[in-house]
């Protein structure tokens, strides 16, 4: 059985204009997509800016309201849940964002940043236990435990992304949504983070949805690939097949745009 099953998902945003802010139109950000993610797999979601890939990721974790369709996690339909019923799933599903400069609160120390999800999901945990857990997480993502009292500005882009990953891992999730986790990083740092994600997946038996516009990274990292364009999935299948024998013209265009060395 699949871990996540998305059926006919639609996310439409109203466009409001005029003095009275009447709804005059809709943006069809995600327009009827279906896919499944098996436990333990890594699924790539590729497409250009505006294709709806990030909106899909956010809809799964409940950051965007869904217009229609269902998102089944194991046997629960997430799209109909209210905030309090959603809470246990927030623990199971975590997200890592693209820009490590904007996604970490600059006024919080590393201990608070990584400890915050623990406070919410494990309120009974003592302060010292939390601090110990944060140290452990820092080691797991390849940072020194000494950095626990520092602020985000003291870290480089790659190190900040490691903090973002540690924060996502804090509550021992089963499923991670990685929204362009390496797009803002140097190629050399990108390789380190991808290797780290691969190791963590193995170690904690995680399932990934990897959102990216870089096909070379997806080919390397993902078993299965979905290609999105204008809110629709235009092609999906095993990564090797999609990239070697693309059936859709849009997929071919994406492949051609990758610079060759």
């Amino acid at each position: 059985m699949s871990l996540l099953k998305v059926e006919n998902l639609k996310v439409h945003f109203p466009v409001r204009t005029g003095l009275l802010q009447r709804v005059t139109d809709h943006i069809f950000a995600v327009d009827g997509i279906s896919f499944e993610i098996a436990q333990g797999s890594c699924v790539g979601l590729v497409g250009e800016s505006g294709s709806g890939k990030s909106t899909t990721g956010k809809a799964i974790i409940g950051l965007n309201p869904t217009t229609a369709g269902s998102i089944h996690y194991e046997s629960t339909n997430l799209s109909g849940l209210n905030t309090s019923d959603f809470l246990p799933f927030r623990k199971k599903i975590q997200m890592v964002f693209q820009d490590p400069f904007n996604s970490l609160n600059p006024r919080m120390r590393v201990e608070a940043l990584i400890g915050e999800p623990l406070e919410i999901h494990f309120p009974e945990m003592s302060r010292s236990a939390r601090r110990a857990r944060v140290s452990e997480l820092l080691t797991q993502v390849g940072l020194s435990p000494d950095s626990i009292d520092r602020y985000p500005h003291a870290f480089s882009g790659g190190q900040r992304q490691r903090i973002g990953i540690a924060r996502a891992l804090a509550v021992k999730p089963e499923f991670l949504i990685l929204d362009e986790p390496v797009s803002a990083l140097d190629v050399s740092v990108q390789a380190q983070i991808i290797n780290l994600l691969a190791d963590l997946k193995e170690e904690f038996n995680l399932t990934y949805l990897f959102i990216s516009h870089d096909l070379a990274v997806v080919e390397h990292f993902c078993d299965y690939t979905l290609v999105m364009n204008e809110g629709k999935v235009v092609e999906q299948g095993e990564t090797e097949k999609v990239l070697n024998q693309p059936r859709d013209a849009y997929t071919r265009r994406l492949i051609d745009a990758v610079p060759s060395l």
Binding site: E48, S49, G50, S156, G157, D186, V187, S188, V189, Q190, A191, Q192, I194, N195, A198, H213, D214, L215, A216, V217, E219, H220, E240, L243, R253, L254, I255, D256, A257, V258, P259, S260, L261
Partner: protein, 280 residues
Amino acid sequence: MSNKPLLNVKDLHISFGQVNSISHAVQGISFKIEKGETVAVVGESGSGKSVTAMALTRLLPESAHCKITGCIQLEEQDTLALEADALREIRGGKIAYIFQEPSTSLNPVYTIGFQIKEALDLHRPEVTDQQAEAERLLDAVGIKDPRQTLNDYPHQLSGGMQQRAMIAMALACQPKLLVADEPTTALDVTIQAQIIELLKKLKSEQEMSIMLITHNFGIVTGFADRVIVMFRGNIVESGPTDEVLKNPQHPYTQALIDCIPKLGKKQDRLTTIDYEKITG
């Protein structure tokens, strides 16, 4: 035409900070850029590549206690010795910049047209019909409806279109050298390919030199004539692009090429840079 290079940088040192905490961002580099040549400066964050580009027109903030020594010869002038007024002529006029993030380099409260005309005002006062010239420039960078776009504000354009508008602004001054500092890093792969194609086309039309700054060897192929590889404030290797890519001499260059995942060549693990091996 003289055989003198357009830009000749000799023994450039750049440092920041005061007595107790000086960081040496650039440690004595020398390079030349010929007329009409495209040179790529490749290196990671912190290698000193952007700082070098900014130093060409002394754009580095004074508040950072920045100290620049050496010689930067642009045609006949030494830009490091110039007064503020003369320097302003060069900024934009002879050396124009496009930066990584178009959304932060454009002024959000002015229209694209206003910003292009502002550049024309400053550097080409002889242009009488600014509206027509601005339209022509937007057309040259591949914007489909130039007249409409002139009235648009930056937020109404996509990232790729904003970068095109930035390039149009840079071209408005007819620079001799265009410094493109990570011009495609914030953009999608498809848009990246379009912008690189555009720069190639413009270069051959306008007879300008381009200094491309990037961390990604991927976009250098087929674009740059020569490559300069920087590592921790020094140039570790330079030469014709094909030669450097095919037969890199320095271990850092090799490592930088190896760590890029290549389509069609799936690896079990991505190669990462072993800095200890490089620095010995």
